[in-house]
Point group: C2
C-alpha cells in the first residue's frame, strides 16, 4: 500500500467519460472484472472499467505495444476468471495498473492515428479505442473461479445490534473481542449483480410451537458486506503473517449476503447458519484493487476497555492504516417505486472504517492454523453496520427484527424484503486532494418462492 502517480487527482484520461464528475471509474480507479458482450456467445474475459467503457485486456495485449510483465499480466486476464492473474502477485498487478494508467492518460497526444507516431513505442489512441467495449453493451460473471468462500463477522456494532434483538441484557460472545470470527460459506450459489434471488423454502419454528414446518421464507433480508478477493495464497501448514497479509489481497467488491432470518434462527445451533445463507450471494462485477484504495486508508483503533489483539493479529501497519474509509449505501426499489418511476429509497449509509477487525487481521487469522488460501478465494467482511441506527447493514437491525417496519416515502412499509424488491448497494471512496473512486453497483432482485 503506497501512494504513487496513479493516485494523482489532476491526471485526466483522453477518454472523456473517465473525467466526468460522477463516474465511479476515473483513471485513478481501474477496477478489474470479467465480461462479454451481452447476449453473445463470446467467451467471458477480463477487463478494466474506465469511464463508461471496459478495456478488453486480451485485445489490448494483442493490439498494443505492452511490455514485459504488463503484457503477461494482460494475457493472464484474458480468461473467464482472473485466478491466473491474481496468482502473479502484486508486482504484476502493479505493472498492469501503471501501464493502463500511462496508456489511457491524456498526455497531450492528439487523436492522430498510430501511423503518424510509429516511431514511438506507444500505441496510438485509435489502436486503444479498438480495445474498448461500452459498459452498456456488456454482461458480467463472477470475476474468478472461487475455490472457497469464507464469511467473517467483524462489525461490533452489527454484533451488538443482533444480540440486543434476541435479549436486551445479552452480551456479544466474548470471543468476538479476540477473534475475527468466520464460517465457511457456499461457493456454488454466488452470482453477480443482476442476480435474481428466488425466495427460499425452509424449516421454521413458529413461536410457541414444538414442531417446525416447511414454508417459504417470511423474513428475507440482505446483509451489506464487502467481498475481499485473495490474490496469492499460502501453502497448507503455513501462515500468512499480519505484516504481509495485504500483499496477498487483490481487491474488494460489494457483497450481498442474502439471509433467511426465520430459517436461520431455527437451524443455526450449534453449527451456525447453513440453508439460511447458501441459497444466494451476490457480488458487484468490479474488484477495486488494494492499490486504488491506498489513499483512503484510515487509522485503526480500539475503544477504551476493548482488549488489544494478540501479537499474531497486531502490527504497526494494522494500527496506522489498517482501516479503510469506504463509503457504503443500500437502497431499495420496489415494484411500486419502479411502476411510478420513483427513485430508490435509501435504507442505510455507513463506512467500512468502523469494522472491529481489519482485512489484514482476517487473512492472518484465517491462516494461523495452517489453512491454505488460494488465488481467487473470497472472504466476506461480515455485515457492515456503523455505530448509529441509520448505519445498520441489514433490515433485521433497521426494523428491530420486524417490530418497527420502515416507512417508505410512497407509503409502503417493509419489515423484511418482499417479492419484486431490488436491493442496490453502492460504494465509493473520497478524500480531499484525491479522486472519488467507486465500486459500481450490486443489484439483486427477489423473485417469488416456487416449488420446483
Amino acid at each position: 500500500m503506497r501512494l504513487d502517480h496513479t493516485h494523482d487527482v489532476t491526471a485526466k484520461s483522453w477518454l472523456e467519460s473517465a473525467n466526468l464528475k460522477d463516474t465511479p471509474f476515473p483513471l485513478q480507479n481501474l477496477p478489474f472484472g470479467v465480461f462479454r458482450r451481452t447476449g453473445t456467445a463470446e467467451g467471458f474475459r477480463g477487463g478494466v472499467a474506465l469511464g463508461d467503457q471496459v478495456i478488453d485486456l486480451g485485445a489490448l495485449a494483442d493490439a498494443a505495444a505492452l511490455h514485459g510483465l504488463a503484457v503477461e499480466a494482460a494475457r493472464a486476464c484474458a480468461k473467464p476468471g482472473l485466478n491466473q492473474f491474481f496468482d502473479m502477485g502484486p508486482t504484476a498487478w502493479r505493472a498492469l495498473r501503471h501501464t493502463l494508467f500511462a496508456l489511457f492518460k491524456a498526455d497531450g497526444r492528439s487523436q492522430s492515428s498510430s501511423q503518424h507516431r510509429s516511431q514511438l513505442d506507444t500505441p496510438g489512441i485509435d489502436v486503444l479505442e479498438k480495445c474498448l467495449v461500452a459498459q452498456s453493451d456488456v454482461e458480467y460473471c463472477v470475476p474468478a473461479q472461487i475455490g472457497d468462500y469464507t464469511d467473517f463477522y467483524t462489525s461490533l456494532d452489527h454484533a451488538r445490534n443482533i444480540v440486543k434483538l434476541i435479549r436486551p441484557d445479552a452480551i456479544v460472545s466474548p470471543n468476538f473481542h479476540w477473534i475475527p470470527s468466520a464460517y465457511h460459506g457456499r461457493v456454488s450459489s454466488i452470482g453477480v449483480s443482476g442476480q435474481q434471488i428466488r425466495r427460499p423454502f425452509g424449516q421454521r419454528l413458529k413461536a410457541g410451537s414444538q414442531e417446525p414446518e416447511l414454508q417459504a421464507c417470511g423474513r428475507l433480508d440482505y446483509e451489506l458486506e464487502l467481498g475481499i478477493f485473495v490474490g496469492t495464497g499460502n501453502e497448507q501448514g503455513t501462515r500468512i503473517p499480519v505484516e504481509s497479509a495485504e500483499d496477498h489481497v487483490f481487491g474488494l467488491c460489494l457483497l450481498n449476503d442474502w439471509s433467511a432470518r426465520d430459517i436461520q434462527s431455527w437451524e443455526s445451533a450449534p453449527l451456525g447458519p447453513f440453508l439460511a445463507k447458501n441459497f444466494a450471494t451476490t457480488l458487484s462485477p468490479w474488484i477495486v484493487t488494494m492499490d486504488a484504495l491506498a489513499p483512503y486508508r484510515a487509522p485503526w483503533t480500539r475503544s477504551e476497555g476493548e482488549p488489544q489483539p494478540l501479537p499474531y493479529l497486531s502490527s504497526a501497519g494494522t494500527y496506522e492504516s489498517g482501516a479503510m474509509d469506504i463509503q457504503l449505501e443500500v437502497s431499495l426499489e420496489t415494484r411500486e417505486t419502479r411502476r411510478n418511476g420513483m427513485s430508490p429509497t435509501r435504507l442505510s449509509r455507513t463506512s467500512f472504517r468502523h469494522q472491529y477487525w481489519t482485512v489484514a487481521q482476517m487473512v492472518a487469522h484465517h491462516t494461523i492454523g495452517g489453512c491454505n488460501l488460494r488465488s481467487g478465494d473470497l472472504l466476506g467482511s461480515g455485515t457492515i453496520s456503523g455505530p448509529t441506527h441509520g448505519e445498520a447493514g441489514a433490515l433485521i437491525e433497521l426494523t428491530e427484527a420486524g417490530r418497527a417496519p420502515l416507512k417508505l416515502p410512497n407509503g409502503e412499509s417493509r419489515s423484511f424484503l418482499e417479492d419484486g424488491d431490488i436491493v442496490v448497494m453502492t460504494g465509493w471512496c473520497e478524500r480531499p486532494g484525491y479522486a472519488r473512486i467507486g465500486f459500481g453497483e450490486n443489484r439483486g432482485e427477489v423473485t417469488p418462492a416456487k416449488w420446483a
Copy 2:
C-alpha cells in the same frame, strides 16, 4: 439402487488377486479413484481398483473395444478429476460398471492373445492386462475437483455423547430431530490418504482465564465419517426431491474430519467450527459406488418418541432401505508401535446403519432452499458413532474429553492425538450371499506444530 448380475457372489475375475478372500476390491466392487505411477510426472487420471491392480480407464478406452456410453464414460474418466464422468449420470456410471464387470470376469476365456479371438468383439486378456497398473506402484489424489464441501451432523449417538461431555443434564439441540444439520467446510485443505497433518496453532482459552492465548493445539482429534460424492447436481433455485436424491449420488469414501478440540470450544459460538476443522480433511482414495453398495442397504427406522421426518425428507425408499450397513473401524499407530513392529490398536468399530439421517435426506435437505449442488461436491456424513461406547467415532467421546485416557496394549495412553500418531480408518460391507467389498484405507499422520 437395484441388484443385478454385477452383485453375483459367484462371479470370479480372471485377475486372480481379485478373487482372494481378503481383497477389498473383488469384481463386485469396482470403486473409482484418480492415480498416477508414484513419483512420475504422469498426469493423474481415473482408474478402478480390482484386486491388487488399478484399471487405467483412459488406456482401456484407447486399447479395448468398448462401446457406446461405456467408452465415452471411460474417456471422461481419463482426467485429473472425475467431475465430467460424474456429470454423465447414473446410466453412464452403470454402463461403465457393467462393461468392466464383463471384461474382467472369468468366463472360460483362456489367456490366449487377442489375435486368436479377433473375430470376437471382445478384447483379449493380454490387451486388458496392458491397462493394469499395480496398486503398489501408484499414488492418488483427491478424486474430483470439489466445488463445495458440506459437513453434516447426523449421528444422534455422537450428538448425545458430545452434549453429555459439556453438561450431564444437557440435551441435544431440538432441531437435531428435524434437520439433517450441516455446515460448510473447507475445500482447499482436503487431501488424500497418506496426508500429513501438521498440528495447528490457534487461540484457546484456559480454564479460569479471561484471555485467550495462541498455542499449538493440545487436543487434536479425528472424526470418523463417510464422504459422499455428488454425481449430478441441480440448478440454483430448484430442489432435489428425496425420492430421486440417490440418483444424484455417485458413491462414498472414508473421511477423517480432523478436529482441534481446544480451538473449537473457544471459537465456535455463534458461527460454528472454523479453524478447528479447516486445517485438514483426509479422504480415502477409492469411491465405492452406490451401485456396488446396493446389497448392503438396511431399513431405516425412528425410535419410539422420535418424530417422523417432515414430508420433504420422507419417502417409501427412505424407510425401506434408506440406511447402509457399512462396517467401520478406526485404528491407531504410534511411533512406539511402529518402532516395535506392533499391530495398530483398534480404537473403535461401528456401522453407518445407526445414523439418524440418511444420505437421501441429506441431499434433499441441502437443496430444499434452492442451493445448487454440482458434480464433484463432497458431503461429509458427520461423525459416525454407534450406540455403545466402543462405537464412538472420535477420541473426545472415547476418552470422555480426555478425562479417561485410553490405555494402549504397549502401555502408552492417549487422551488426544500425539505427534507421530497415524490414524487408520477402514470400511467394508458384507452380507450372507453377497461378496465382501471394502473401501480400502484412510491414513493420516500427525506431524509436530511448526511456526512457519
